[in-house]
């Protein structure tokens, strides 16, 4: 232990490097004059990093869920599932309310010069009904869902698979289940290896995105972005305070634990890509027990999008103010519920923000074309949205873990001094020991 502490005192931790990379990337993108060759190189490097993580996401998500659920008893699953849905729904609802309050206080849409915004996109009306959306959660072909990268459908199938394992594997040791557990270890190892180069990838991603957009696009909508950022900050501050009080994890520890995943969220703009990092940190740095994190985090990628709820709400308010439309109290209530529900249905890829807007904007009687105004700043909006989606998932997991009594405060304390690689090593070792134990205690296979 002493040796480990000595090592990390001399090095700067990986998380810190990633945060430095974010800041450097932003400065680089904003201040260094845009050079097409440099931007291209950076963009390629960033995209390669993104792809390296993306390639394993579907397998990671499915594997984690199957393992988590396969090892649970049914009533446990029911309890955790129910609490998960409650926390997800309430947090998204409250996020939307925050957006309403701050949006009306700060009025981002008032006095906006519409002519200064170049619109380069034409927006088409969205014809999917709520029934279609619900229906589309269920895959028609499990393999196709995996091949299409449809995370929600893959999760639903993995849920069924995990539940079936929990029933069938009750009395005998399934060789299949052991294989799946081993497979998960391999996938996590793959991602850990890739995360070694995260600082470079993050820098390249952020620098190239900002450089290719340039500051001119931002200026007319700066107030909008500013208000959005204020809402994010307010919501997360309150959320962290609440979680800290309930779970008794120190605020500093929580912020430290959220650091790496937030950096990844900002850099990649995708909750799915950030998931492996988020899961590791939620377990190792925030002390959330595996049986909660492995179900909630993958589910949270699709079902819990506090950031998206805020985004849709504030954008609707801004558009309304731009066109001098006023909402009644009833309208506002409707809007909050609409955005909360829509945040459940939104996809997890970068750029999904515009699609979500095409669903909600017409519902509030606002013109569809107004969405095009926001297309130019989608990159920045995506950052603000994803960071809260991801952090919201982690904080929700902490709450549910606390109510299930699986918050490990010792782990949180220990994480203060260990580097990321050391944490992963430790976690892997503990897991292997756990499995040795269960294997020795398990009844003989009935074959």
């Amino acid at each position: 232990m002493a040796q480990a502490q000595g090592k990390s005192k001399k090095k700067i931790g990986m998380t810190t490097w990633i945060l430095i990379a974010v800041v450097l990337g932003m400065l680089f993108g904003l201040l260094v004059p845009a050079n097409p060759i440099v931007t291209d190189i950076l963009k390629t490097i960033g995209q390669i990093f993104l792809r390296l993580i993306q390639m394993s996401i579907i397998l990671l998500v499915m594997g984690q869920i199957i393992q988590a659920i396969g090892g649970l008893k049914m009533n446990e699953l029911g309890k955790i599932g129910y609490k998960t849905l409650v926390v997800f729904f309430l947090s998204s609802l409250i996020a939307s309310v925050f957006a309403v309050v701050i949006g009306y206080l700060l009025k981002p849409g008032a006095g906006l010069d519409l002519s200064a915004i170049q619109t380069t996109v034409t927006v088409e009306a969205n014809k999917t009904t709520i029934w279609d959306t619900l229906l589309n959660f269920i895959p028609t072909n499990a393999i196709k869902a995996m091949s299409d990268g449809n995370i929600m459908q893959a999760i639903i199938f993995a849920l069924f698979f995990g539940i079936a394992i929990s029933f069938v594997g009750k009395d005998s040791n399934l060789a299949l289940f052991d294989m799946i557990k081993e497979f998960n270890r391999v996938i996590l190892r793959v991602i850990t290896m890739i995360m070694q180069v995260a600082p470079y990838g993050v820098f390249a991603l952020i620098a190239s995105s900002i450089a290719s957009y340039g500051i001119q696009v931002v200026i007319p909508l700066a107030k909008y972005l500013g208000v959005f950022a204020v809402i994010d900050l307010a919501f997360i501050t309150v959320y962290i305070l609440v979680v800290s009080g309930v779970t008794r994890v120190g605020i500093g520890d929580i912020v430290r634990g959220l650091g790496r995943m937030s950096a990844m969220a900002v850099a990649t703009g995708s909750s799915a890509v950030t998931l492996p990092t988020a899961m590791q940190d939620v377990e190792n740095k925030l002390g959330v027990g595996k049986k909660v994190s492995r179900i909630m985090m993958p589910l949270g990628v699709t079902l819990n999008s506090n950031g998206a709820a805020i985004h849709m709400t504030i954008t609707l308010i801004t558009i309304a103010q731009m066109y001098a439309v006023s909402f009644s109290a009833g309208d506002i209530l409707f809007m909050v519920i609409l955005c909360t529900l829509a945040s459940v249905a939104n996809a997890v890829v970068p750029g999904a923000g515009i699609v979500s807007l095409t669903i909600v904007v017409p519902q509030m009687g606002l013109p569809l074309e107004s969405i095009a105004l926001f297309a130019g700043i989608e990159i920045f909006v995506g950052m603000l949205r994803t960071i809260l989606n991801v952090d919201g998932d982690a904080l929700a997991a902490m709450l549910v873990a606390k109510s299930e009594n699986v918050i490990d405060l010792e782990k949180v304390k220990r994480a203060r001094n260990l580097s990321d690689e050391e944490l992963v090593e430790l976690a892997a070792k503990e897991q292997a020991e756990e499995e040795e134990l269960t294997r020795n205690l398990a009844p003989e296979a009935t074959r």
Binding site: W131, L134, I138, A142, F161, F167, L174
Partner: protein, 413 residues
Amino acid sequence: MVQDKRKAGMTTIITLSMILGVAFGLITGKNFPFIEMLGQLFLRLIQMSIILLVTGQIVEAIGGIKPSETGKIGAKTVAIFAVSTFLAAFFGILMAVVFKPGIGVEISSIEASVDVTAGKASAIADTMLGFFPTNIMQAMANGIIVQVIVFAIFVGLGLSYINRDVPSLLYKTLVDFNKIIMRIIQMVMYFAPVGVFALVASSIGKFGIEVIIPLAKYLGVYGLGTLLFLIAWVAVVSTYTRINPIEIVKRVTRMSLVALATTSSAVTLPIEMEDAENKLGVTKDVNKIALPLGVSLNSNGAAMHMAITIMTIAQLYGVSYTFSDMVYIVALTAFASLANAVVPGAGLVSLSIVVPQMGLPLEAIALFAGIEWFVGMLRTILNVDADTFTSMLVAKSENKLNYAVYDKNPGLV
């Protein structure tokens, strides 16, 4: 036996749901989006595991073939299985074309939305080419069942060699995997009463009560088809073995009744094996190989069911098939009959496998959900009897048919 009761119980509930669905559709006279969605949800839940079910079942069934079964007896048995299954499918199509159960009530006119031979011209050779996948992952992702089955057959054969002397870990894992998939389908079937109710209610709500009429016609035509095919079987066996056809029918009655009552080939198997040996003279060495093999590999009843139902649905939707399309249907349903789902509502699962392959909408199977009980009876009796008749043919050709049993009165045995 407990599983029996549960299965019978579930099938009864499903039939009740259909009746409720009809009532609901009649009374309200319209289709509610929420209800329609429930029905669609149910269908999707079945569908999601289909590819894995088909692949897994076939690889396991073929991969588990033991060396003794690959000898002459096994080979002849499989050959007869193949021929009879194809003929059963063909016969199903024939019955549908001749008697046209689906004509008269048109649900809606749709063009077969998918070119079923994957974009190739309608020549027989191209159809056959289309059976073989260029990329198995792509075939699975795109849900091209015939290609997946062909691949699974080869993998199964390969596995059976490896699994021969030492039980292979892969095989054991596969068995576990299939148990899981089967469990998933069972879990989905718990939702069947709601799903069937929703499907039937929305169909009636959309199209009116007249849609029931083709169902009655369909059942009649299918029943007739099964009967005729059985008669044909008896004729063939009688001619080849030179046994009086009446005797054959008398002696096969008990297992047939059990098949009708239980709608399960697996449950009927012990009785089937006993009667095949003691009443029909099939000696043990043929009996022990052919009949269990038949439970998984031979399903004349399933093949005919799928073929005739596809044609009926096509008629309901005003879709017409070319000759090559029909050849494809024969192959598709014959192959698909290899994948058995031992669940209540297996008929629905089979239809979920093949109906989308022919460009027909999956909701079409909604109505057939209600007569699942009758369908199960017809499928099983043909499955079981065909297995037995096959074993008689094989036994005769190996000179292992014991004619002495025919001196005894079947009632006394």
